[in-house]
């Protein structure tokens, strides 16, 4: 049983990086507005479906930037319609509003692409490569590489660009950020655009190994959300670690225990972590002055 461990780990890491990438999408909006898009799964699915339709016209590689731009536009609409009207209401209306937006998006895409799952052509040949005793499909490498690249890009953007600093400032104190001249409304819009672009990109990355359909995003989004919460919504490193923990726990359980229970250990880790550290493994505690 142990000789397949590397193989199991490879599949866990592949899953984990995707979860981590989706987790980044939640973090991006959480830091600017303390909200997340609960329709992130639909953003992912719509991204993949648009990618599927564009690939025959543009080819896989040229399709990618178009999908990213599309995801960004999608995010702007989500923010404008589902988040902004509810942002300052005392109730957490945005949770439901983003879910509602997702319901609409899913239904519309069912009417465009149908309810059936469609295969997504892989851009790379299905020839496994041997790495350290495990056989890795080139597509899996593409997923891991693409996800890591995106995550690094987002992290660099957050840390070193002026706009990224504006994101952080808005996160810390929206009013004060507004006073020093940051257009916080635009920053929040921008963070949603970036977040949904990330999700759309995650969608086209995983589509070759899953299937593509309006319902493909729900489970992935929930796993990504678990990863974001486990790591802490304010830490990029947390998203990666959270994603890997959940992905690897899932792969190990599925192989060594039972596929039926594959989600349980990750969720138990999550519950245990939040019992001990309510702000997530790498989350920051915001001190409240009384």
């Amino acid at each position: 049983m142990l000789d397949v461990l590397p193989q199991v780990l490879v599949s866990g890491i592949t899953l984990g990086t995707i979860y981590g990438l989706i987790a980044f999408g939640y973090q991006l909006t959480y830091v600017t507005s303390r909200t997340v898009n609960f329709g992130q799964g639909e953003a992912l699915a719509v991204g993949a479906l648009v990618g599927l339709s564009l690939t025959p016209m543009l080819g896989y590689w040229a399709m990618l930037p178009v999908v990213i731009v599309f995801g960004g536009l999608y995010g702007l609409v989500v923010e404008r319609i589902a988040v902004r009207p509810t942002l300052d209401s005392p109730s957490e209306g945005w949770i439901l509003a983003t879910i509602a937006f997702g319901i609409v998006a899913k239904n519309v895409s069912e009417n465009i692409w149908g309810k059936e799952d469609l295969p997504f052509p892989s851009p790379l040949p299905p020839l496994p490569i041997e790495i350290g005793g495990a056989f890795v499909m080139p597509t899996e490498l593409l997923i891991v590489g693409g996800a890591l690249l995106l995550m690094v890009a987002i992290e660099l953007f957050n840390r070193f660009t002026l706009l990224g600093r504006a994101f952080a400032a808005t996160a810390d104190e929206r009013e004060a950020a507004g006073l020093v001249g940051i257009d916080t409304e635009k920053v929040i819009s921008g963070s949603f655009a970036l977040s949904c672009a990330t999700a759309a990109c995650a969608g086209v990355l995983v589509a070759p190994v899953t299937l593509t359909g309006p319902g493909m995003g729900l489970v992935l989004a929930l796993k990504g959300f678990s990863a974001a919460i486990l790591g802490g919504l304010t830490s990029g490193l947390g998203a990666v670690v959270g994603g890997l923990l959940i992905g690897i726990a899932e792969a190990l359980t599925a192989f060594y225990i039972s596929t039926g229970y594959k989600e349980v250990p990750g969720l138990l880790i999550l519950l245990a972590a939040l019992t001990l550290k309510p702000e997530g493994l790498f989350g920051r505690v915001l001190a409240k002055k009384v």
Binding site: R80, T86, I95, A97, N107, L271, P278
Partner: protein
Amino acid sequence: MRALHLTLAVFALMASVPLLAPNAYYLHLATVVLVFAVALLGLDIIIGHVGEISLGHFGLFAIGAYTAGLLSVDAGAPLAVALIAAGAVSAGFGAVLAFPALRTHGPYFAMVTLAFASIVQVVLNEWTGLTRGARGLAVPKPPLLGATLDAAGFYLVVFVVFALVWILVGNLAASRYGRSFQALQGSTIALESLGVSATASKILAFCLSAAVTGVAGGLYAFSEEYITPQAFNFDLTVVFLLALIVGGRANRWGALVGAVVAVWLPNLLGDIAAFRVMAVAAAVLILGATARSVARGRHGWSAWIPAAVAVAVAVTAFQLETMTEQRLSVFGLLLLGAIAYLPEGLVGTLAAVWRPEPDSTSGPLPERGAAAVAEPVDGTPVTVRGVTVRFGGLRAMSDVSTRIETASVHGLIGPNGAGKSTFVNTLTGLYTPSAGDIRIGDTSIVGASPAQIARLGVARTFQNIQLFGHMSVIENVLVGLHLAYRSNLVDALVRSRRYRCEERENRERAQALLAFVGLAGAANQDARSLPYGQQRLLEIARALATEPKVLLLDEPAAGLLPSDIDALMAILRRVRAGGRTLLLIEHHMDMVMALCDRITVLDFGEKIAEGSPDEVTSDPKVVEAYLGATEAAA
């Protein structure tokens, strides 16, 4: 009275549904409406009262359904036993769920509850030996008192359960327990400072919420007569949430209206003719509302988006032959509209229109209560020995010792950042000292929780006001009286005589405390609507409600008008005359000098002087701390 009549009329109507329903289909729909309403009454304890979004109630609903179903099928349990067990088992799981959820908020809380429910779903699916797994479990309606239960009979059972839950949940919400749940969403720190354990309150809220939702799950199993793990999924949570938000939360009517909407809307949307009428009506309404708000000069072009969407939907409605495929889109759009334009839900919005303004005239001051406020209380001295508080590498307080005497006002002054609030926060258990000892009387409080310290007779006000803003002024004070009750949860749920007696007495007492600080006329306003200065006075009244031996006031005069400060000083003099120990942190030196018997001066976390007001003001170190180096002043 009008509200009671309305309730009775609606309940009478609901009781007669078996006579009115044209066929079995509608009777079943009505049954499901009431089952959902019960579930929502449970969910509302968490969402409406505690103020956190739970995505996990579908798990508790499933636990209730399977408990009742399995007991009935495998053990032949009677209906009542199965339902009670459903509630009890679900409550047990609720208590377990409370622990990871205790310190989490917002999305973290949502995730904890969702993770729990996801695990429940997997276990129900996989533990085939018990649950039959994905094949599902057939649950015939059990006989009731020997007679077989037909659809109409079962509807009446559900109706009776609904009515019972309606009454119990209403009593709960109006009781001190309900108030402590609501206080959780205002400020857990303040709740603890009144001696009420936030942990215990949250666990209780979870148990009760889970019990009610579990009973609903049990009813659901018997209503559907067939349950599968797949029936309890994330979509169900979405339905619950939308029903409660669209109906209106923190309100029983919201749960009922929400259940009606959630169950009937999908059916309504199947009918294209009805939908066309609705879509046109909605488009006209939204266009009108938008035109009005734009005419008032608000928003830009984006204000027209909802109107444009509504018109587009109305136009599309006439293009379509059927709408089975588009149903979910319409559903989602309706939801979005409801959330954006009816943030308080249907019931909340209607209630705001109909509800009379809160009665702001004050009744005569109850004599008994008024006397109680002035009753002498034995204060307790506070001894602080060598206390050091560290935050990481920073020393917020180093080696501070002092003694605060009974029936005195002890001043604590110092420049900003001197460690004054740290002192109060350490004394009340928010921070734990890294060295030293603090005693209230003879009891050391190092390591005790804020609620435990409060129960020793220490009350406080906060520099950054920590009121329960969405609760009324008098309810804020009543939270302070939480520990004055002897009646228990059961008394509160059934409104026993003992409970009603105590509730009346405590309301009088709260009213007297409000009169004591000059807020008698504002009793029924929302606390957050009070002017700033009055909010500070309300914090004092709330703290006094706990009958403290020691009262800590953290900048009570900050932001007050000069006239208010005089009133405040009069109040504090009367509190001291009652025999309490007072610690006063304040920047208004006139007030400190006029009130305090002794003064401790802190600077950079160290005590630099202590003595009578005269001694302290003439101390060169104090002058230096406040005005800078003496050379510069010279």
